[in-house]
């Protein structure tokens, strides 16, 4: 693939140290072992609920499990408490901007999560060109479709949706057309 995404990611992606990756996975592993919902380390609970609401607009749960069921917000919290710790401030500022926009568009509303669905979608259209939305979208995709060891993609919900299966070995034929050729 050509690498457009990296141009942007390179300016915000975290330190690559393998130690960070290990720490994030360890944290997620411990959280998964606990019977109570894991506490948020980087996000305050009110922000977490709002981020969960926005992630659920990116990958909705309308026709099957989406970002909410996959635990995307937990992945984002892991990222912000480990390898993306330097993005906490951009998140704080970004969420404040979202809330300002919401208040401007819907003065009577209290939160993104409490908005009626149609208004939520209007709000996302209003912010979809911002850098912060692109960051949220990127985090949402990695939380929905990334390795579950980081706390997202619970029960492989994301992988099941797109038809990806993470195995260590495959035998050809792999798809319809190479199977045709084998006949």
């Amino acid at each position: 693939m050509l690498s457009t995404r990296r141009l942007w990611l390179s300016q915000c992606a975290g330190i690559a140290a393998l130690a960070d990756i290990a720490a994030a996975q360890q944290h997620a592993h411990e959280a998964a072992q606990s019977s109570n919902p894991p506490p948020f380390l980087a996000l305050d609970p009110a922000d977490a609920a709002e981020i969960d609401a926005i992630a659920s607009l990116i990958i909705p749960s309308t026709d099957g499990p989406g970002a909410h069921e996959a635990g995307v917000v937990y992945f984002i919290d892991r990222a912000l408490s480990t390898f993306d710790a330097h993005l906490r401030e951009p998140y704080r500022l970004g969420m404040a901007d979202v809330q300002r926009k919401r208040h401007e568009m819907f003065p009577a509303s209290a939160s993104v999560s409490a908005l009626p669905g149609a208004q939520q979608i209007q709000l996302i259209h209003a912010i979809e060109a911002t850098d912060f939305f692109e960051l949220l979208r990127t985090h949402t995709m990695y939380g929905f479709l990334g390795n579950p060891n980081y706390g997202g993609n619970r029960d492989h919900i994301g992988w099941k949706l797109i038809g990806f299966d993470d195995r260590m070995a495959y035998q050809p034929p792999f798809g319809y057309y190479d199977a045709q050729e084998q006949k």
Binding site: L7, S10, A13, G14, I58, M141, F144, M168, D178
Partner: protein
Amino acid sequence: MSVTFRPSDAVDFLVIGAGAAGGVMAKELSTAGFRVVVLEQGPYLNERDYKHDEIGYIYQPGLTNDPKIQPITYRKNESEKARPIKAIQYGRQVGGGSVHFTANYWRFHESDFEERSLFGEVAGTGLADWPIKYADLEPYYTKAEYDLGISGLGGANPFEAPRSKPYPLPPMPVKSSGVLFDRGAKKLGLHPYPAPVAILSQPYQGRAACVNCGFCEYFGCEMRAKSSTLVSVIPQAEKTGRCEIRPNSYVHTIQTDAHGRVTGAVYFDANRREVFQRAKAVVLCTNGAETARLLLLSKSKRFPHGLANSSGLVGKYLMWDNGGSAMGLFEHPLNEYKGIQVTRVIHDYYRADPKRGFYGGAGIDARFDYYPASFALQGMPSDAPKWGAEYKKMLATYFTHTMTLLAHTSSLPQPGNSISLDPDLKDAWGLPALRVTFDYHPDDVATMQWSLTKQIEILDAAGAKKTWTSGIALTDNMPSNHLMGTCRMGNDPQQSVVDRNNRAHDIPNLLIADGSSFVTAARQQPTATIQALAYRAADYAIQAAKRGEL
């Protein structure tokens, strides 16, 4: 078998960089009987460290240079102020880029070595013939293919240069993308052939065959089936008992004596202590960007413009792997996430043809090098929604029904495209950051646009339901992974940095053998040629050292 040399002990060869070229050098020099230290800035990992993990290796630069500690700045031309952008990317570990590369392994064509004579002058460029011909390099391509373990089908590409031996291993199994590409290309009268790759289709030299897990590009191979230097030649070097691979060693200066000869290199160890490793000769293999930076960092009273730079050309003529990508959606599932990335290639459009009205050519491969999250972020059509119910619905089909073509296109050597030292920004060790100055030549842009139309023709002929393309803006080609040309090879010391044997014109006991010595960039992934050049330069260095001429 592992050996440790004292820094004060002058070893025969100090190799800087343990990647595609450095690994070859380590093996060739140590098996010839020389004592070798290899300094590698990155860690020493192995297959047990690697994972199927996009978050670790695509979102984060787990196996590549990290701009947080080694910032890179970029500007289009000299009149701009460079700003921090990860414009280039390289493998940063023992094995270097050969660990995480896609493993495409194409030889140059005969014409690639003499394009200036064949095509003529191109305004604003330093297009030149190489001082060597394909025939000079052919034995070393063959040696690389057999030493490392390359799978392919010799003679299947009617445009390929003559080869003295077939590939040591048969091609990898074809994927659906390869079958569709085959059908489309043949309908158009083109000549698709099985992709040559540095991946084992059968067991080879004690390593097992590939199991088609699909995590090649961006990832380290957990099965040791990708023929990186890490699993092939580096273990052979260590087995001699004469080669020490020293990871986490970040070189900042190559030292010289009063006679203008190199005496070794100073590096920061893992604890940021400075260490001076002495050596009788130094071989620079740190890649097409960092090699130039290190030479520029190594300036002294005797060499005020940097080492090996009497021509003023160190860092100049930077070339990278331009290209453009087209994608197609098909009726039935392809499941392209299974198996290696590339299984079919065409070289029909490879050679430059003046009738096109511009210089350039393309090698086109059929591939799928997306993974679940990267596909969701970058693989969907540009007119598709980026979020919401419709986006989710499309993802559910597109991931398994999409394939990609990628054209590797030419990159003209322009004097203004360069690697230099950033005057302001420093890395985490306090060294000047690497600054990239790069812009396309108008012919580079014309070639990329032309290549996109050729790719769409093939996808349409293959029966795609929908096609779309990536952009060809500079940002679409960033970061560049294929770094070539910053210490070009030539016979004239005024017009080049190294001679035809990769020896620095200015310094008898300094060799530079990596992508930096490329005179032209062909239109492909450069690893096969980087490694063939390294084998050839090693051969020369061994003979010269034995005669006492280094």
